[in-house]
């Protein structure tokens, strides 16, 4: 157990406890704040995986973008007196069984498989090589992603605004 291992287990614990808080909390606002800590924990694990650029992207986009969107959605859709989600759960037993089966299968397969390992040292810097890869090997998905973002932006605006004008 060196410092790397201790740090990993600490952040893994933070991530998993926060994720448990997201899916089991009764209040949707508490769930959103648990999701904040889960995102930060995942970003810390990315740093431990020598993916500094992805970690910063994770914090900027997930915490700064998606989580803010989610909190806006919560504030705009929950009634003032119903922050507590009464009867907010569907049938619990099948969900627990299904999620447990999936978890058991995944962990069993992932831990027993002999993965091919390169055994290389972690990359010194990642931002520059990622940029080079985006411009060479992944240039088509990169351009498609930009078009997709534009379509999603325009689509979101149109969907969210549509029936202000013509209330059916």
């Amino acid at each position: 157990m060196n410092w790397y291992d201790i740090t990993f287990y600490a952040f893994a614990l933070v991530t998993i406890v926060s994720a448990i808080g997201v899916v089991f909390s009764r209040s949707i606002v508490y769930a959103a704040f648990s999701l904040l800590f889960a995102f930060f924990g995942v970003a810390a694990l990315y740093v431990l995986l020598a993916a500094d650029f992805i970690a910063i992207t994770q914090i900027l986009l997930y915490v700064g973008g998606i989580l803010v969107l989610i909190i806006f959605g919560i504030m705009l859709t929950s009634r003032a007196n119903s922050v507590e989600m009464k009867k907010g759960l569907l049938s619990i037993a099948p969900s627990v069984v299904l999620a447990g089966v999936i978890a058991g299968t995944l962990i069993g397969v992932l831990t027993t498989t002999k993965w091919p390992s390169a055994g290389t040292a972690p990359a010194e810097e990642t931002a520059k090589p990622i940029g080079a890869l985006l411009m060479t090997k992944f240039v088509l998905p990169f351009e498609l992603a930009s078009v997709l973002l534009l379509v999603a932006l325009v689509g979101a605006v149109i969907i969210a605004r549509r029936e202000k004008g013509r209330k059916a």
Partner: protein
């Protein structure tokens, strides 16, 4: 599996995250809670990509794929929240089991 942190530990963490996300998606009624479950699932998938980029034979390609996953997650969250807001204005609910009308 030893206690020393290698590929396996990261994969186990991501598998637990994935299962929790699945549980959130199928047990919750609120559409925004379903979205949070989906985000957990996408994070788990991303962690797998990056873990294999570090320990496996993917090198940096795994990290580039993770960037694309984050982009898709952002686009999906924006569109889904627009749909949820629209549904809330029309039907005054965001519970996915009460939204059963295709038309007024």
């Amino acid at each position: 599996m030893s206690l020393h942190v290698e590929l396996g530990q990261f994969l186990v963490v991501s598998a637990i995250l994935f299962s929790l996300g699945i549980y959130g998606v199928i047990s919750r009624k609120n559409a925004i809670m379903v979205l949070m479950g989906i985000e957990l699932i996408l994070n788990a998938a991303n962690m797998n990509f990056i873990a294999f980029a570090r320990f496996g034979v993917m090198n940096l390609s795994g990290q580039v794929v993770a960037v694309f996953v984050i982009i898709l997650a952002a686009a999906e969250a924006a569109v889904l929240l627009a749909i949820v807001l629209n549904i809330y204005q029309q039907l005054n609910t965001v519970n996915v089991d009460e939204v059963d009308k295709l038309k007024n």
